[in-house]
Symmetry: C2
Subunit: 235 residues, 2 copies
């Protein structure tokens, strides 16, 4: 993985550089943010790049490179101001905007997502949850009541939803995705184990539980290979 | 992102090249596998690189490069044998090995994972699910009965678990992770929103729902920027 922006000191206003952060750095910024939130919770006000890198599980040159995209370089011998850096990363990631999230699917996964405390603390407000099952519609999930998926368009408009999470079976994911797009939702996170087609203006991210396990299996296999005989490899 | 292995034709036995697949290609191989499984389900026997690339949402030079790590080049005008390619990718990812997975935490997320059909179809067998809540211990989740986390080590040994999923609150994740490692589990997927420390020999992957939403927010912000005034950027 090659980061093409040169690592050079200087001041870059966030509003300008936030457009050009490489995907791998964006992913790591979310990890730094999590570590900074833990530090804040412990009442720690300053952190060195080595400490923060350690807490995030990366090396400190990589951390410094990632933070350089925000124009944040810390001060030698003093480190980073935890609260300020937290704020800088939040702004760069767009977390200070008003994200109103609807969850489609009130099964175990949808309920797990609706109850996930990490969303609210990062600026994501869950404003609606939908299900197709009439036995589930109207029941309570946290502080929300499950809406009927038949009322999708009406409820999305009323709740001013601008981001949606698909926690539905693969068989209905594309149809619901199309309805979301038609209703003007252009940011969609899908947990459905299926490839979805969306127009170019729509931001779609896919999370597949089995993908993560498969990637883990690949690395685990490599780590375990010396112990495996040819028979288990072949079968 | 730069792929360092040159794209050149030739035969690479899977057992040899599986060690050197770049992380981004590993992630995409899981997507091709998903697309191939859909084709198999439809009874389709051959697929062109363009069709498979389309189904996976990548361009076909990238697909061909990724598949070249497996020594798979297709045949011009004929394409790939769906079943054979499926098998090749499965072997390369280590999915033909015997993965016996324990889930720690029988809340909504743990139950969602335990009931996820995509695991079994990819070679992951859920062999145990644990919870600390005595009211939950003994209850049924799919075909499993929830075990007490107090019995973790005994049950892991009895079920010959070799992979674990942490679907527990952040506050207990490190302690349970330590117990898994001490019990000899070296492949762990964590959904806990916290940075975990593990010894170097342990493969740990973290999935954080809010990370995915944050990455989505970053891209959505970029896409929406023309519509946003400076006030919403600053706040």
């Amino acid at each position: 993985m090659t980061v093409t922006t040169p690592e050079m000191p200087g001041l870059h206003p966030v509003g300008d550089t936030a457009r050009h952060i490489p995907p791998a750095s964006v992913a790591r910024l979310t990890i730094y943010l999590r570590a900074l939130n833990s530090l804040l919770a412990e009442g720690i006000e300053r952190v060195s790049s080595e400490e923060l890198a350690d807490a995030a599980g990366v090396n400190s040159p990589m951390l410094r490179k990632d933070l350089s995209y925000l124009g944040s370089y810390g001060t030698r011998g003093v480190g980073y101001d935890v609260q300020y850096l937290n704020r800088q990363i939040s702004i760069a990631l767009g977390l200070t905007l008003d994200w109103r999230v609807a969850i489609l699917g009130a099964g175990n996964l949808g309920r797990a997502l609706a109850g996930y405390s990490g969303f609210v603390s990062r600026g994501f407000e869950i404003v609606a949850i939908f299900d197709a099952d009439q036995l589930v519609v109207g029941s309570e999930v946290g502080y929300l009541r499950v809406s009927a998926v038949d009322d999708l368009e009406t409820v999305l408009e009323r709740t001013r939803t601008n981001m949606a999470v698909l926690a539905v079976p693969a068989s209905v994911a594309q149809e619901l995705c199309d309805r979301l797009v038609a209703a003007g939702i252009s940011s969609i996170l899908s947990f459905a184990p299926v490839v979805l087609q969306v127009p170019p203006h729509v931001q779609l991210r896919k999370v597949d539980m089995s993908t993560e396990l498969q990637i883990l299996a690949y690395h685990a296999q490599r780590a375990q290979e010396p112990d495996l005989g040819p028979i288990s490899r072949a079968q």
